[in-house]
């Protein structure tokens, strides 16, 4: 548990907790962006350069902007008139706490922690491209179809219906 891991973990947890806890929706998304950046830094620390930069490019650069656009378009004129918490928030929090307890118990008591840590793997983007084209070509093509379907679906869902002129 190095110092850099502790700092990044604290930053990420603070960002994500703020994202789930703040009242103002745009503040939530900005805290979420901070959490995404912290996660990208953790990926870089683990040696996955490509994934770290892709996380910034996709999540910070696209998903966060998408979320703020959706918040802009679904805000009623009254502003923050609705309450923040759902009516079943007690049950939800208890369930989430129970899930964390079970996961933490499973992690700490498992034998999966290696005693001899392997050295940093050197992965180049060439190897990722090679793997995408040889071993993972079927998931790649399916992801292409999925993204096309999602693109068309999102456009159709968000399109304004044309009103016929009488």
């Amino acid at each position: 548990m190095t110092v850099s891991f502790l700092i990044l973990a604290t930053l990420t947890i603070a960002g994500m907790a703020a994202a789930m806890g703040l009242r103002n929706l745009v503040h939530c998304v900005l805290a979420l962006t901070l959490g995404f950046a912290g996660l990208a830094a953790l990926y870089l620390q683990l040696g996955a350069q490509f994934v770290g930069f892709t996380q910034i490019l996709v999540y910070v650069g696209a998903v966060a902007i998408l979320a703020v656009f959706a918040i802009m378009m679904t805000q009623s004129a009254g502003g923050l008139t609705q309450q923040a918490l759902s009516s079943s928030w007690v049950t939800g929090s208890i369930v989430a706490g129970a899930v964390f307890a079970v996961l933490a118990w499973a992690i700490c008591s498992s034998a999966a922690s290696p005693q001899i840590l392997p050295s940093q793997p050197e992965v180049s983007v060439n190897q990722i491209g090679d793997a995408l084209m040889h071993r993972f070509v079927l998931p790649l093509e399916i992801i292409g179809l999925l993204l096309t379907a999602a693109l068309i679906g999102a456009v159709v869902l968000a399109m304004q219906e044309k009103r016929e002129k009488p």
Binding site: F5, L46, Q55, A67, T74
Partner: protein
């Protein structure tokens, strides 16, 4: 505590924060953000196991994470499109008020 255990605990904590947010918040957009958070926690898990696992040269963890990021982005787009369509109909994103199938 080995580094792998610390990363796994961090991702479990992030997952439960996302789950708590998705279950306890009223706005539909925040539920979607909670789901994104859960997916990110799973990605961190994958990368941690890739780094400290037995066979990092097979790149399985990295590949799974790349696909998971793309699927999550597509799902966020479609989910927010659905929220927009529902908002146009019901004029609110409050999930507690969407409790009837009629309309």
């Amino acid at each position: 505590m080995s580094p792998l255990t610390s990363y796994l605990l961090l991702s479990a904590l992030l997952f439960s924060i996302g789950l708590a947010g998705a279950l306890a918040r009223r706005s539909a957009i925040l539920v979607l953000i909670g789901i994104e958070l859960m997916l990110n926690a799973a990605n961190l898990n994958f990368i941690a196991f890739w780094r400290y696992g037995p066979n990092p040269a097979a790149l399985t963890g990295v590949m799974f994470t790349i696909f998971s990021i793309s699927v999550a982005a597509a799902e966020a787009a479609v989910g927010l499109g659905i929220i927009l369509a529902v908002y146009r109909h019901a004029k609110t994103t409050d999930l507690d008020q969407m409790d009837s199938m009629k309309g």
